[in-house]
Each structure stands twice: as C-alpha cells, then as structure tokens.
C-alpha cells in the first residue's frame, strides 16, 4: 500500500485537533509535547527559528489514520460549476464507453478469426488440401481419418497447466463439479 501523504496533517494545528483525539492517542500526544514551562519562550523561539518542532513520523502516521476521514468531502458546486462538471463527466463516460466497445470488438474479431483458422485446419489434410480443392485438382480422395491432423494437434491441451498450481487445474466455479472427487486419479 502506498503511504498516504501527510501534507494535510502537517497543516493541522495540534491545538485545535486535540479535543477530537481518541483516548488511545492522548498518551502519544502527551509524550510528544514538551513539558511546558509557563514563562519560558524557548519553544516558541525555536519554532520561529526553524519552522516548527520536529515530530515523530510514527505519530504523524497514527494521527493521519485516526483522523483522516475515509470518505472525501462531498462536492458542493454552484449551478454552472455543477453543469460543467456534469458535461466533462458525460464526455469522459462516452469516451470510456467507446474504448470499451472497441476492446470488445477487437476481442470478438480475434475470437472469430481464431475459430475460422481452426475450422480451416479441421478441413485440411496431410497435403494442405481440402476436399473441394482435391476434386478441383482431380486428386484422389483420402479417408476421413487423414484429415484434420493439424486441428487435432492444435486442440491438444498438453502442458497447459505446467507450472500452475494444481488447485487451478479445474476452472474455479461457484459450485462443485459433477463428479465430486476423482479417487482414481494419479499423476
């Protein structure tokens, strides 16, 4: 996780926030504050010189996570500003929709061309000729078993799970498979 920015926190004065601190954080705060001598001006003097006292980063982080709200503040816009925001939002949505549609179209195209290629492989024989090409060229016909060797090879699933943990060898589904456990399985 990325460490959150503490820029917001540093601007917060410890005085105005101390009342909102939960009791668990009060000890931290007490330890962090200097034992104050009422008539001494050293702390203030030092602050003037060096731009504030140094704080422990851990305290800063704890404070950040205790006090920083999870929900961002609501958007409060004037009429025009809200309309401008809406316009930009709509344009962005439209753009995103188009990107998504393009991606979907690309996937479909790829799938279809892959399916067409597989179909072509299935119809092709040892010499790379289909049935129609054979009749056109006047070659003798071959048996059915001779066709589609390349297709069968392409469809083989050997080694696709190599290097993948065995848990993934069945596609993860919501419900268990039809046969619960294959007891006869050996590697």
């Amino acid at each position: 996780m990325k460490t959150p920015s503490t820029a917001l926190l540093r601007t917060l004065s410890p005085l105005c926030r101390s009342s909102a601190l939960p009791w668990t954080a009060r000890g931290c705060q007490a330890a962090q504050q200097q034992p104050s001598a009422p008539f001494s001006s050293t702390t203030r003097q030092r602050a003037r010189e060096r731009g504030g006292e140094k704080r422990d980063m851990r305290i800063t982080l704890i404070r950040y996570h205790l006090q920083h709200p999870l929900t961002p503040r609501p958007l409060r816009f004037s009429r025009d500003r809200a309309l401008r925001h809406w316009t930009i939002h709509r344009a962005h949505r439209l753009h995103q929709t188009r990107l998504q549609a393009d991606r979907q179209a690309t996937l479909e195209r790829q799938y279809n061309s892959m399916a067409a290629a597989c179909e072509a492989l299935r119809l092709v024989d040892e010499h790379g000729l289909t049935e129609t090409e054979r009749t056109r060229l006047g070659c003798e016909r071959e048996g059915h078993g001779k066709r589609g060797r390349l297709y069968r090879i392409a469809m083989r699933k050997d080694g696709v799970w190599e290097g993948v943990p065995i848990e993934y060898s069945r596609i993860q589904t919501d419900s268990p498979g039809r046969e619960g456990w294959n007891h006869g399985w050996t590697r």
Binding site: R79, D80, L83, R84, W86, T87, I88, R90, A91, H92, L94, H95
Partner: protein, 432 residues
C-alpha cells in the same frame, strides 16, 4: 478555435480589471447592492465621465473586486472582506457576459467539442435510420412476410426514437433548460427527461397509492399509467389519494395531464366512486361522478377543466362527491382512457366516440352501477392514466348534498350489531 475565442475576454479583462465597472454578479451580492442602479454599458459610453471631484464613493462588490487597492477600499468603506480568491473574483468580473457554453474552461470546452462531435454522429445515424425506414416501407413483400416487415418497422422506429434522445442527452444546455422547467415538450428529449423524472418518484407513489387503496382490482383489473396527472380543485393541489373536503370538491376540478407520447390523441375521462353502499345487497357498488369523451390531449395541450368541456364531450356532468354520515371514506378514482386509433398505423388519429349514441343507449349514461371495466371493454378503451382522491362525511357534506339535490343527506349509517352466539354449557364430563 472556440476555446481561444472564449478565453480571450477573460484575459482581456484580467488585464484591465481596474477600468471595469463593478457589477453585481451573484444573487447574494445583488441583494446588498440593488439599492444603487448599475450603469449599463451604452449609458456610460454615451455620457462623459463626471469630474473626479464629484464621483460618489463607488460601492464595491465583494465578489468582483480584484485589485489590492479596491480590496482595501472595500474593507475601509463597507467593512466587507472580499469573497473567494482574487483569481476567482477577476474571473467573475470578466465572464458575466459570456454565455454558459462558451465559458473559457479548457477541459469543459474540450468535453463540449467531444460531445458535439458525438451529436453529429448521432444525427447522421438518425438520418440513416429514417432512410432505412422509408426504404423498408416502400418495399413490396409477400403477404406471408407482412407481419415480419411490420415487426422490423416497429423495432426500427424504436431505435430511431432512441437515437433522437441520444443525440441530445449529453447537452448541458438541454439539461439546464429542463431543470428550469423551460423544456419544449414537442421535442423528444424533453419528453424523455420528463418521463424519466416522473417515473423516478411520482409514478411510484401513485402506483403505491392505487395498490394500497385497491383501485387496481376494484375499479380496473390492470392499469399501467403512462400519462401523469395533477389534480387541482379551484387552484388547490390534491396529492394522489388525499382526503378532500366535500366543500372543496363540490366544484368540478381541473386535471392537468401530461402525455409523454408524441401527437394529439382523444381521451375519455371517468370519475368513479367504488364505495357506494348498497343496503339491500349489504355490500358496495359503483357510481360514476363524471364521464366525458373525445378530449384531445397532447404533450403540450395538457389542461382538462371539467366544467369547461364542451357539451358534446360530456356524457355525465360533475356530481359532487359525498360520503354519507357513518360511512368510511369513499375512493374517487379518476381514470384516463385512450380511445382506439382509427387504423393500425403510426400517427393514426383516434376514433371519436359517439356521445349522443351513448347517451341514448343509456347503459353508460347512468350514474348508478357504472362498471368501469365493462365500459372500457365495450368501446375498446385503453386505461393510460389514473388519479385518486377520497371523500369523507364532514360538516359541509349535508349542505353539498342538498344543493346538488341528492337525497339522503339526513341518513346516518350504523354498523349492524353482531349478536353473540348464546353460550351453551357443555356436559360437565368435559370439564375435568
């Protein structure tokens, strides 16, 4: 380019804000400054500036002061701090005259350009779809394919309507106009937006009321409202299902309907009381309080004053609703029924009903026992809208009934006493 053109006035005014007139911009500032009239552009140009000695102390607008000197002056003279950043104030001072769509914000302008591009595409698609529909209409098909052609035409028209809406739905100006209630209901986009708004809440409430008060099975078996209604009695709004004082409802109401479909159609409006007691039957029956036919309504022609309809439209004039003493509330449902089209084509006019014929036949010209479903079925009417109010016995009801000439204003209904069954002591062997 649009951005540069629109950005220029801002830059120009940023350069010479000192010379610009302090102008009222926002509503909060005008309230403070409206005592002093602001000189208009032409006026100040025509008149020579007065000598510097008698310039009255100009009141500064905290929203538009943008120079340090002006800020100081504002605080010294008016004891007001300037509002917001100096950059913002300068922008407000300079951009008041720029129309919203040309406001010089880069991201906004680019978004607008993108949306305009998209709109052009959509308009092209609309044209294309229109051409396709015309082509298909002109095409001759075999008689067995007629139904298929009709179906295709139907779906193409749906698509066309969708495209028309999609062309304009991303326009901020359209959105603003609709939110201000200035939408032109002849345009599909505004009708679409209004329909969506109605369906998002008010229609839900209406449906809930008519289901909870059992209008749906009692008056009509099914009803899918597509026309929204607002009921007013002499200018007083009545929520769906509200109880209306009998004095208020003695005068005929005005129904404000809003149809969301294009074109003028003829409608029939009926007001039915479904809780009329019938003592002989020991049950309830119906009474029609108002029935009018052939009312032309369109998205822009919405008002139906029940008392100002023509005589050839009204079958049963308004009878003031009343609930006799001792009765629970009575539901008065106002049903809007669409009259059937003359022929099954697009934009076909509605069939007018024969009012004189209905009156002569007498079956539906009688108030007592008016069965809504039978009426709708007889004339092939389709229920498209509903409104509802209730009436109870109150201190004005007797007067209202007397004035309307309705007998029974002095009758009080009482609940029939249910005699308890006599207690019979069973044989003592049962109590052990």
């Amino acid at each position: 380019m649009a951005i540069e053109r629109s950005a220029r006035p801002l830059a120009r005014c940023l350069r010479c804000t000192r010379n610009a007139h302090p102008r009222a911009f926002s509503a909060s500032a005008t309230s403070r400054l409206d005592t002093q009239p602001t000189p208009s552009e032409s006026e100040s140009a025509a008149r020579p500036p007065p000598p510097p000695s008698d310039i009255p102390k100009a009141r500064r607008d905290p929203n538009t002061v943008s120079t340090p000197a002006a800020e100081r002056q504002l605080f010294r003279d008016q004891k007001i701090h300037p509002i917001g950043s100096r950059r913002r104030r300068a922008a407000i001072a300079s951009t008041g005259t720029i129309p919203f769509s040309q406001l010089p914000y880069q991201c906004f302008q680019e978004a607008r350009a993108f949306l305009q591009e998209d709109r052009k595409e959509k308009v092209q698609l609309v044209e294309q779809q229109r051409e396709r529909i015309a082509k298909l209409k002109a095409k001759e098909v075999a008689p067995q394919d007629e139904a298929h052609k009709e179906l295709r035409l139907e779906s193409m028209k749906t698509r066309l309507a969708e495209l028309k809406v999609m062309a304009d739905i991303n326009d901020p100006v359209v959105k603003r106009k609709f939110e201000d209630g200035e939408g032109d209901m002849t345009k599909p986009i505004y009708r679409y937006l209004a329909d969506k708004k109605w369906r998002s809440y008010k229609r839900e409430v209406l449906l809930q009321r008519i289901h909870q008060m059992n209008i749906i099975p009692d008056v009509l078996p099914v009803l899918d409202p597509i026309v929204s209604t607002k009921l007013t009695f002499a200018g007083k709004k009545v929520q769906h299902g509200d109880v209306v004082s009998s004095l208020t409802s003695a005068k005929p109401p005005t129904l404000n309907t809003q149809a969301y479909e294009q074109g003028t159609k003829l409608y029939t409006i009926a007001v039915v009381n479904s809780d009329v007691p019938n003592v002989e039957k020991d049950g309830y029956e119906y009474r029609c309080h108002f029935l009018a036919c052939n009312i032309p309504l369109s998205p822009t022609n919405t008002l139906v004053p029940f008392d100002r309809l023509k005589a050839d439209q009204v079958i049963l004039p308004w009878l003031p609703p009343y609930a006799q003493k001792g009765l629970p509330y009575q539901r008065m449902s106002i049903i809007i029924l669409a009259q059937p089209p003359v022929e099954r084509t697009e934009n076909s006019p509605s069939q007018p009903l024969d009012v004189a014929g209905i009156k002569d036949a007498g079956r539906y010209a009688e108030r007592r026992n008016f069965i809504m479903k039978s009426f709708a079925d007889r004339f092939a009417l389709k229920p498209v809208g509903v409104d509802l109010f209730r009436t109870v016995w109150d201190e004005f009801t007797a007067d209202v009934m007397r004035r309307a000439g309705v007998p029974g204003w002095d009758v009080e209904f009482k609940r029939k006493r249910v005699e308890p069954l006599p207690y019979q002591r069973k044989g003592s062997e049962r109590y052990r």
